[in-house]
Symmetry: C2
Subunit: 228 residues, 2 copies
DNA sequence: CCGAAGTTTGAACGGCCGTTCAGTCTATGC
DNA sequence: GCATAGACTGAACGGCCGTTCAAACTTCGG
């Protein structure tokens, strides 16, 4: 029975993962249960069996994607000591990729935008979105304060004010990157965010920061394959 | 026949206006032709008669809303001489309202976000979005350069770079305002944008800028009523 | 092994909604 | 006034897709 539990939990995640990719590819409103089922290697009926209704499935998928992303970022940052390096890394992770993996790592951002348009009409999505946003901003605030305590950043900057503006900048620019607007390729977004942070907080950018394309992408995703 | 033309053109606009409001209220994907027809005081069949298909209607409605908004802004700014005052006014216009009219003037921003999520799968929407974005950024660039020539702004700022970052900041913050996130009420967004601009471009804010709630909203909308 | 609980499915149901169509109404040109 | 083009509609069609359901299959405790 315990094994059963695990199995069914794995199935849930498998379906959620499939949902994330389908939504990323087709858009929230054009996503059909049958698409998700196919990607997950299951029948439409099974998907409903696990999630009860399409609405619940979609809402859970949105939250799932962004929570997973946030968890990864948090975990990575927890292994860095310097506040400056944490902020630099956070910026790198927040910038959608350039590389081949384009299709892959845009999903998180696409789903994030889908949350924006759905939130006004779905309380649960609105709540999830706000919670994530608060956590994200909170992380920035923590890093800034930590850096100020350690003498890495100037102390005449209000951490909360900076965090709101900086998170806003990231969101706004990421839209252009996700939509492939040639005006702001990923590289440029990264540079702008890095320069803004270093200027406002008064720190020197590490030499690698502006050159490096991107550290090896965290090896997630692609793990859950088809069952068969 | 000419009179006919005018009549039918008025009808088109009436339908587009109805579409904008329905999309703003129900979201792009939950918008039905019947809803739009009802708001416009017409039958579903008539709406199709004018626009051929739902997709074309929605795409045109998105472009219509944002082009109208941009035209208004452009017109208002054309009557201001000082570059500084132009920028201040632009910021005021770009910030979604607080007031009673909430339902009303959020529409433009909601549709703008809907364009973001639809663009990846609809070339025509993608093209419209990019054109609008370029024009918007272009306006900022023009104002900055003009201000630099006139000695109102510092000259060691790259206008294009500033415009991209500033437009990004506006977009990012506007999401929070539109979603009614208490962290960033309209007033705060306005303050942040004003402060950022004045700091980076090195000008003094006019005394009224930070106090005033918002100049009388341009008297548009609500004009096209039902045809009896 | 048996049966109960947990999984999984194919097939069918049913509603919603975009689209079509045949035809009415209105006004304008002749 | 009559014919014609354009504006407009109600009703019906048809497909798509979320949801339901009864039944098969799988696993496992006893």
């Amino acid at each position: 029975m315990v094994a059963r539990r695990k199995l069914s939990e794995a199935r849930r995640i498998q379906i959620l993962d499939a949902a994330v990719r389908v939504i990323g590819a087709r858009g929230l409103c054009d996503t059909r249960i049958a698409d998700i089922a196919e990607r997950a290697g299951a029948s439409s009926a099974l998907v409903l069996y696990y999630f009860g209704s399409k609405d619940r499935l979609l809402a859970e998928a949105l939250a799932f994607a962004d929570e997973r992303f946030y968890a990864e970022v948090t975990h990575e940052l927890s292994q860095i000591e310097s506040a400056r390096d944490q902020l630099v890394r956070m910026i790198e992770l927040a910038c959608p990729d350039d590389d081949l993996s384009a299709e892959d790592s845009m999903d998180d951002w696409i789903l994030w935008m889908e949350m924006w348009t759905r939130a006004p009409r779905d309380e649960s999505v609105a709540a999830d979105r706000k919670a994530l946003d608060d956590k994200w901003r909170g992380s920035i605030i923590d890093i800034v304060r930590q850096g100020q305590r350690r003498g890495e950043f100037r102390t005449d900057v209000d951490a909360e004010d900076f965090a709101v503006r900086f998170a806003g900048l990231i969101d706004g620019l990421s839209v252009l990157v996700v939509l492939n607007d040639p005006v702001v390729p990923p590289r440029r977004m990264r540079e702008m965010c890095l320069r803004t942070a270093s200027t406002e907080l008064g720190f020197e950018l590490p030499a690698r920061a502006l050159r490096r394309r991107r550290a090896a992408a965290p090896a997630r995703r692609r793990a859950a394959g088809r069952v068969g």
